[in-house]
Amino acid sequence: MSKALVIGTSFGGLEALKTIIPSLPEDFNIPVLVVLHIGDHNNDSFINYLNSISKLKVKEAEEKDEILAGYVYFAPPNYHMLIDDDASISFSADPKVHHSRPSIDVLFESAAWSLKDGIIGLILTGLNQDGAHGLKTIKNYGGTAIVENPENAVASIMPKAALAETEVDFVLELDEIGAKIIELSKQF
């Protein structure tokens, strides 16, 4: 069964991701998928920058990509990103969820459906409730849930909403998250 780390964030997410993604080592053994709310704008320059400061390869996901360790896949603007049963990426142009497309809930739920307990879900800083339901689904399927401490997050709404809906495994400061993920991934 495949494994993955899925990350959801909105406002403040650029900075948060700049802390976490470059802290992951070259041999990090599970693929990483990210939904960052960014409106209709494209992510290209951020993705390129993040790629240049990271040991993992950071790219915009492409339809039917098989998810692989060593890569960080960003959902493209204006499409939901889903993980299919064969651990490949699907897109959908379905209506927005929590005013968002891509939506964190859509990624997290499909990740749990397809990869069951092989998922680590991470909610970072953000300004709406997207992701709370998805994180709960990850927990229900036996996965691991991590939330950034809302007290110190740039925007507390998203982590707070996640904590209100789910009994999570870890509430951590931004700079503690990378080490915890690496530790957890070693169990896989």
């Binding site: 492409e62 339809e63 039917k64 493209p76 499409y79 889903l82 993980i83 299919d84 049963d85 699907s90 897109f91 959908s92 142009a93 379905d94 209506p95 859509v106 739920e109 499909s110 459906w113 397809s114 069951k116 307990d117 229900n140 399927y141 036996g142």
Partner: protein
């Protein structure tokens, strides 16, 4: 097998293929090769709206209740669209495809998966502005008859009108979008002259065959919902339907990768997903 919640989870993965098989055998609509994650999302939504406890329970209903099937068809069809969606695509189309179209005495166009028709009217406006519409025959198809009715009437709500106007301008539109519609009772109705060269018809990409030889095919944001096998099958259908050097336009995140026709087309605009069928 452990008796825990995971045995329950496995059930739905057994039930969904059976459900899709039942729908296919009973109603001849084939969703068996749609992306599984997508289908699961839509069916879970219907389950929760309809208060079903399982997909099996829903299967019992769909086999015996045609109206329920019609609702389900709505859930499984793809009906998100807008006027001049992805304006950069239309801009590139004007620059890179229109000059070729102008060399044809008569142009046959297939707009596959046209949904409620906003993108068909967008295309008709563009062709009109380029002086081509009178030389065109457009086949706009979808498997969902309900959306085809909406498309035929060309009447739309005004709530997204500002966005449509913005898209139109960004796409290289030569006038105002309001040149092409009348505003009445809070709705807009597109000028009938735009659809006089359009035939709206029921066609299912999954189960139906080639119906015409065409110069241009547009099929945007439909293939993303299909698995690789079905994508391949539909691209074959398009390849067979196109004349030599005919154009194929896909959605901005779609590609020919993983299909047997990956090398049968050349890129006209790789970013906007405009391709041209190679000769031979």
């Amino acid at each position: 097998m452990e008796q825990n919640k995971s045995s329950n989870i496995d059930n739905i993965d057994i039930e969904i293929p059976l459900f899709l098989e039942a729908v296919y055998q009973k109603y001849s609509y084939d969703f068996r090769d749609y992306s599984k994650a997508h289908v699961k999302r839509r069916l879970m939504h219907r389950m929760s709206v309809g208060h079903f406890s399982s997909v099996s329970q829903m299967q019992e209903k769909v086999l015996r209740d045609k109206d329920f099937f019609i609702d389900l068809l709505e859930d499984l069809s793809i009906n998100v669209t807008e006027m001049f969606r992805d304006p950069d695509f239309y801009k590139s189309f004007r620059e890179n495809v229109v000059p070729t179209l102008k060399t044809y005495p008569f142009i046959k166009i297939w707009h596959a998966g046209c949904s409620t028709g906003e993108e068909v009217y967008s295309l008709a406006i563009l062709l009109q502005e380029e002086g081509l519409l009178d030389r065109c025959q457009v086949y706009a198809t979808d498997f969902n008859r309900k959306v085809l009715e909406i498309a035929k009437h060309g009447i739309y709500q005004t709530q997204e009108l500002e966005k449509f106007q913005r898209n139109y301008t960004k796409s290289g539109g030569k006038g105002q979008l309001s040149d092409y519609y009348t505003l009445k009772y809070g709705s807009i109705k597109f000028d009938q002259s735009l659809s006089k060269r359009v035939v709206f018809a029921d066609h299912n990409l999954v189960t139906d065959h080639v119906f015409a030889e065409v110069n241009l095919i547009l099929c945007r944001n439909v293939l993303i919902y299909f698995n690789r096998e079905l994508q391949n099958k539909v691209i074959n259908l398009f390849h067979e339907s196109l004349v030599h050097s005919g154009h194929l336009c896909l959605g901005s995140k779609e590609s020919l990768r993983f299909t047997q026709h990956e090398h049968s087309f050349s890129d006209i605009d790789a970013k906007q997903k405009i391709f041209k069928k190679r000769i031979g």
